[in-house]
C-alpha cells in the first residue's frame, strides 16, 4: 500500500515535472534562456514559483534537464534505426528519413537543441555538453561501423575513412534539414531533403 501510494505520488510528480519541461521547451525556444524567467515558466505551467524548485534545484538545472531530455529522445530514435539488421544502404536511408521526421515534428526543440549544442555559452553547461557530445560521438561511431560493414561487403566504395563518411553524412543531413526548417517555402530547391541526401550519398559511396 505504502509503496503503491508512494509510487503514485512519484508518477504524479514526474508528470508534473514533464509539464514544466514542456512549457520550458516552448518558452526557451521562443525567447532564449535568459529572456525567460522562472516566474513565467511557473505561470504558463500553472504552478507556483516555489513548486518549480521541488522539481529542479535551480533554473540552470531545469535547463540542463530539458536539453538532456531532448538529446535522449533524438538519440534513442536514431540509435534504434542504426541498431537494426537491415542492409547497410537501407540503414542509412532510414537514418536520414528518421532524422528528417524528428526535425519536422520538433522544430522548436531542434532549434533550441542546436543553439545550445553549437557553442560553449555556458560554463554551466560544461557537464551537460560533455554528455551530449558523448551521445553524438556514439551515433557517429555507429554510422561509421555501418560504412565499415558496407565497405567490407564491397557494397560501398572505400573512398574515405568510415568515420569521415559518418561525419560527412551527419553534417550534410543537419545542413539540409536545417535549411528546410528555416525557410521551407523559399528554398531554391523544391525536392525533399531526404531525396537530395540519398543522391549525394549514392554518388559518394555507391559503386
Amino acid at each position: 500500500m505504502e509503496a503503491c501510494k508512494s509510487s503514485r505520488r512519484e508518477r504524479e510528480k514526474l508528470r508534473q515535472r514533464q509539464e514544466v519541461l514542456d512549457v520550458a521547451l516552448r518558452l526557451f525556444s521562443e525567447k532564449g534562456y535568459h529572456n525567460v524567467s522562472m516566474h513565467e515558466i511557473a505561470r504558463e505551467a500553472e504552478f507556483a514559483t516555489g513548486t518549480l524548485y521541488k522539481f529542479f534545484r535551480n533554473k540552470e538545472d531545469l535547463y540542463k534537464a530539458l536539453i538532456l531530455q531532448l538529446s535522449d529522445r533524438f538519440y534513442a530514435a536514431i540509435t534504434e534505426v542504426v541498431a537494426g539488421d537491415a542492409p547497410e544502404i537501407e540503414k542509412l536511408q532510414t537514418y536520414v528519413r528518421v532524422k528528417g521526421e524528428l526535425f519536422r515534428n520538433n522544430v522548436a526543440a531542434i532549434r533550441l537543441y542546436f543553439e545550445e549544442t553549437r557553442g560553449a555559452r555556458f560554463k554551466v553547461m560544461a557537464g551537460t555538453e560533455r554528455e551530449i557530445r558523448k551521445r553524438h560521438q556514439s551515433v557517429l561511431l555507429s554510422l561509421a561501423s555501418i560504412f565499415e560493414c558496407g565497405m567490407n561487403r564491397k557494397r560501398f566504395r572505400r573512398i574515405a575513412a568510415p568515420y569521415h563518411l559518418a561525419l560527412a553524412l551527419d553534417s550534410m543531413a543537419n545542413a539540409f534539414l536545417f535549411h528546410w526548417i528555416e525557410d521551407p517555402q523559399g528554398n531554391p530547391y523544391p525536392e525533399d531533403p531526404g531525396t537530395i541526401l540519398n543522391i549525394l550519398f549514392k554518388g559518394l559511396v555507391g559503386s
Copy 2:
C-alpha cells in the same frame, strides 16, 4: 593640421573601439552574451564603464557590431577566393583551405559566430541575422556558380543541383573544421580536414 589632428583622433578612437571589440570577443565567446557585464568588458579593456558608451550605444549595439565585424572578415576572405579566375577545382580547394585557416586562426570568433548564427535567440539580432544570412546565401550562390561552371565544362559530374552541392560542401567543411577545433588532438582521424574534404569532393563530383 586640423584635418590631421582630427584624423589622428579619429584613428585613435577607432583603435580603442577595436580594443573593446577584441576584449568583448574573448569574453562573449568564453561566457556568452548574458554572462558578461559591460562593467567586466570595461575592466578587461581598461576603460571606464562610461567610455564604452562613447563607442557603442548600448550592450546590444556592441554585440551586433562584433558579430557583423566577424561576418565581414570571414566573408571578405571567402569572397576573394571565390571571385578569382582559377580553375573550378582549384577554387574549391582554395575555399576549403582558406576557410580552414580562418577557423584555425580565429577559434574564439568562430565559436561565437556559429553560436549566434544558428539560432534566433535574440529578437534583437533580427536585423543583424538577416544581414548575415544574406552574406551566407551569397557565398552559397558563388559556390553554386563554380559548380555550375565546372559542370558545363565537363569537369564535374552533374550528380546534383549546383546549389545542393554548394550547401553540401559548406556544411561538411564546417563540420570537419569544427570537429577539429573542438578537439584537435583527440580526433579519430589524424589527417588535415582539408585533405579529407578534398577526397570527399573528388569522390562526389570528380569523374
Copy 3:
C-alpha cells in the same frame, strides 16, 4: 473563507502600498523627485527594493499615484463643501475654512502638490497634469456658480465676472495659507488667514 482571505490579502497589500506612498510623500516633499532614490524609499518604508515594484510599475508611476491621491483628497474635501445647499456666503466661508484645515494638516503634501502643480517640469506628468488641471478647473467653476447664484439673489455685488471672482478667491486663499505655512510665527499679521480672507471678500462682493 477564500474570499475573506483574498480580501484580507488585498487589504493588506493596499495598506502596504499606502505605507509606501506615505514615506514617498515625506521624502519627495523634503528632497524632490530626483533627489530621492527608490532604494531610499524602500529603506525608509522598510521594504525590499523589489517589493516597491509590486505596488508600482516604476518610480514615475509611484510618483503619479502619489500626486493623484493628494489631488483626490483635496478636491474631494473641497467639492463636498461646494456641493452643499448652504447660503452662498456661508459656502464661501466654509470653503476657505476647509481649505485652511487641509493646508494645516497636510503641510508636506501641500508643498509637494503645489510644486508639481505649478510647472510642467515633467513630460512624464503630462497626463497627470491634465487630470489635475481638470479638477482645479471644476472647483473654479463650482465657485463661480456660487458667485453667480449670490449675484442673482442680490446677495453679492456684480463687481466682476463670477469666474474671475472665483479665481481671485482661490488665488488669495492659496497665497495667504501658503504664507502662513511657510512661516507661521514670523508673519507680520497675527490674524487667522480665514478671517482676513473673509474681510477681503466681504469688501469685494459684500453690499
Copy 4:
C-alpha cells in the same frame, strides 16, 4: 593698458557667461533642472563642457545664478515702479501693468521662476530661496506702504491691513497672469488680466 585689457577680458567673460545663462534658461524651462545635462547646455551654448566650469562652480551654482538673475530682473522692474512718486492708485495700476509685461515677455523665465519659487525641492536652493523670499518680502512691504499712504490720504478704504492688501494684490496678479500664460486662447475670460485686476481692486479699496 593692463587694466583695460583685463577689463575687456572681464567683459568678454561676462558676455559668455550670460550666453550660457540664456541657453540654460531656455533648456531648464523646457525640460526641468534634472532633465538637462551640462553637456547639453555646453553644446547649445557652443562652449566646451569644461568651459562652463570656468563660469560656474557646478551645475547647482549655474542654476542658482540663473534663478537669482531672474529674480533680480523682476524685482528691479517692480521696485522701480513702486519707488516713483506718482499717486498711489496710479502706482498700483502701473505695478499691475509692468508685471503683466514681464509675464508676457518672459514666459519661459516666469514658468521656471515660479516652479522653483514655490517649493523647497532642493536643500541646495536653501540659500537662494532665502534671498528670493527677502526680495519678494521687500516688494510686498513696498506695496503695503503704498496702501498705507493711500489710506492715510483717504484715497483707499481701510478695509484690511495694508500688508494683507499687498499680499492679496500680488497673489491675484500672479494667478490671473499665470492663467493667461498657460492658455492665452482658451480662457473663459477674454479681457486683459490687467483690466480685470483693476476692476477687482477698485472694488476692494475704492471708495
